[in-house]
């Protein structure tokens, strides 16, 4: 899917964004009812980044994600039922309930995987891309990271190494203007993180992160470059987190005007309008209904699933058997 997406593909991108939104809204409700655990990080308003970028990948390509990964997970094709089950700590979850929402992985679809340590997956992504290069596999790694993560040491080490060795790796920065509660202007010495690409001798591109097609196109270019053996690209997607940093956010630091200014740029209604113009409002309504049904199924599956048995901890800490 490396050319401009067909209308059918656009419809699918839209539906996937809608699935992410509805899934997170469901999580929000379950959280309020006390039925989920731990802080959960939603990406309301940023869905276009994860969905647009992952759509530029093949199944064999790998995605490394973050603490705010639901759009990456859904975009890469994780079954929503098993995803919700993982978030609910169920035995049927992608990680058998051991991971939780920040540590989702699904090897089958190339998600390896979520990471709750800011920037922690970037050195891992370097290793994954190295393996592709050394083994002459034509695959690439897409590594998501945030504008906050861009300030951490591991990010720098990973970019230098990937650029030095021309690894098949795309750095996708989701610049949503905030770390947890700290505004980018109080944590980054530069407004445009793409400006750092030059310091590694790689291309840096800024893209409208609220436009799923623009994100897709920019990522596709970067993926092609990586596949050609020309090395990494830094894609900076400018976006905004419309809600708090997690379910435990008590608010008070995102100025109302700022939220109000970004609200009209919400990628989902905008894409809905675009599609309605092309395919008709009925088709969009049908997509919405499909998304809602999928999320409903996923939540039901999770809630019906059993919790893991304590006995499985007896397996012990080590992987068994010689390699």
């Amino acid at each position: 899917m490396q050319n401009a997406p067909s209308l059918e593909m656009q419809a699918e991108l839209y539906m996937k964004m809608q699935v992410v939104r509805l899934l997170e809204e469901a999580i929000g409700r379950l959280h309020k009812e006390g039925r989920t655990r731990g802080p959960i990080h939603r990406c309301d308003g940023q869905e276009a980044v994860g969905i647009g970028a992952t759509a530029a990948l093949e199944r064999e390509d790998i995605v490394t994600s973050t603490h705010r990964g639901h759009a990456h997970y859904v975009g890469k094709g994780v079954d929503t039922g098993r995803l919700m089950a993982e978030i609910m700590g169920r035995a049927t979850g992608t990680c058998r309930g051991r991971g939780g929402h920040m540590l989702v992985a699904d090897r089958e679809v190339g998600l390896l995987g979520g990471c709750g340590i800011v920037g922690g997956a970037l050195p891992v992504a370097v290793g994954q891309a190295l393996a592709f290069q050394v083994r002459r596999q034509p695959s690439v790694v897409l590594a998501f990271y945030g504008d906050g993560a861009a300030q951490i040491g591991a990010c720098h080490e990973a970019m230098n190494a990937a650029a030095l060795w021309k690894l098949p790796l795309v750095f996708l920065c989701e610049h949503n203007l905030y770390g947890l509660t700290v505004h980018a202007r109080a944590q980054s010495s530069v407004a445009d993180l793409a400006s750092r690409a030059a310091g590694y001798g790689i291309p840096g591109e800024i893209v409208d992160g609220n436009d799923v097609l623009a994100v897709h196109a920019a990522t596709a270019r970067a993926v092609q470059r990586a596949r050609r053996g020309e090395g990494p690209t830094l894609v900076e997607a400018k976006t905004y987190r419309l809600l708090g940093f997690s379910t435990s956010d008590v608010g008070g630091y995102q100025p109302a005007e700022e939220v109000a200014a970004w609200k009209p740029r919400d990628p989902i209604p905008n894409m809905a309008a675009r599609l309605a113009a092309e395919l008709g409002a009925d088709r969009v309504a049908a997509l919405d209904a499909d998304a809602a049904a999928e999320v409903e199924r996923a939540v039901a599956f999770a809630l019906e699933s059993p919790l893991p048995a304590i006995g499985e901890l007896d397996a012990g800490e080590y992987v068994k058997g010689a390699a």
Binding site: Q187, L307, I310
Partner: protein, 328 residues
């Protein structure tokens, strides 16, 4: 003496020291505008301004290194690492700078900083936000390590840590922030390096820290109902360790259970058990029982997670076994 939450007690200590000493500065992720994810630095930026209460980038190495450099030049930083799980990211600064420089530079500098952080499992925060890594820090020479269990100690030890001329790693517990207790008003200092007898008893000594003190007290309550008198020692400071109080208790009770929320293997409980085994050798009627987390990453799912950490029931069982063995 007001009744305060642990988080409020920490806030009160910090506020008191900030008002008392203009060289105290606070920095860390989200400590400024937001007031800290556990709200310990709430409203402080409004009172002291963004220069003394500073949000940092997500740069743990700089947070720790900055504490080293700024304290060397006369400030008294109280830096925050949001979760103890992130402490490994700046352990180099603790091991290769904070621990090393005062001694190796021949006493030319002191490093009066505090690094606050918090740990602990049970909240469903997953394997990367639930660890108890005190054993790693407590192994480092030249750095004091404090883990208060009560609101009063939270206040008194934090104030003492800020005044201490040495680096102090101050480890809070995410499950304690909302616990309440009586806290002395005004200036309140608790000496670093002194354990407390949280509950006196005569049949068995339970040595614990942080949240495990609360679980041990619950266990002692249950044991009392069975006629077993358990003494609970809250070590409070993990380094330097108050061996006198601990060993004194074990020499009286002749049996001991040590409880730590970190992984059992190579954990802080090993230091306790080894020290007690050495210094109370002739007094022990049973081996020191050592409880710690199961040796695996903390799983997310609740039943699995709770199965990995010690609790009152497991502590009581170990104490019972020790008492029985001691009579056998």
């Amino acid at each position: 003496m007001a009744e305060l939450r642990y988080a409020e007690a920490l806030h009160a200590a910090l506020l008191g020291e900030m008002r008392r000493d203009p060289s105290v500065v606070v920095f860390g992720e989200d400590v400024g505008v937001y007031g800290g994810v556990f709200k310990v630095t709430r409203d402080m930026q409004a009172e002291f301004g963004p220069e003394r209460v500073r949000d940092t980038p997500i740069s743990e190495q700089v947070i720790a290194g900055m504490a080293v450099g700024a304290s060397m030049m006369g400030l008294k930083p109280v830096a925050e690492i949001m979760y103890v799980d992130f402490l490994p990211l700046c352990l180099d600064q603790l091991l290769n700078q904070a621990s090393v420089l005062p001694f190796v530079w021949g006493d030319q500098v002191t490093l009066p900083f505090v690094l606050r952080t918090q740990g602990g499992a049970g909240a469903g925060a997953g394997a990367q936000h639930s660890k108890s890594l005190e054993a790693m820090v407590a192994h480092i020479p030249g750095i004091k390590v404090v883990m208060p269990a009560t609101p009063a100690d939270a206040k008194g030890l934090l104030a003492a840590a800020i005044r201490d001329p040495n680096p102090v790693v101050f480890i809070e517990h995410k499950f304690l922030y909302n616990t309440r207790g009586p806290v002395p008003d005004g200036e309140h200092l608790v000496e670093i390096g002194k354990a407390a007898i949280a509950r006196p008893g005569s049949d068995v000594t339970i040595v614990a820290s942080s949240r495990m003190v609360l679980e041990s007290l619950k266990a002692a309550e249950a044991l009392a109902a069975e006629g077993i008198s358990a003494e609970v020692v809250d070590i409070r400071t993990l380094r330097p360790l108050d061996t006198e109080t601990i060993v004194g208790s074990v020499r009286r009770t002749h049996r001991c259970v040590v409880v730590n929320e970190g992984w059992r293997f190579g954990g802080y409980g090993a230091e306790l058990a080894a020290t007690i085994g050495e210094l109370a050798f002739g007094w022990l009627d049973a081996p020191v029982a050592r409880l710690g987390a199961l040796d695996m990453p903390v799983p997310y799912s609740q039943p699995l997670e709770l199965a990995t950490i010690p609790d009152a029931a497991r502590i009581a069982a170990a104490a019972r076994d020790a008492v029985r063995a001691g009579h056998g």
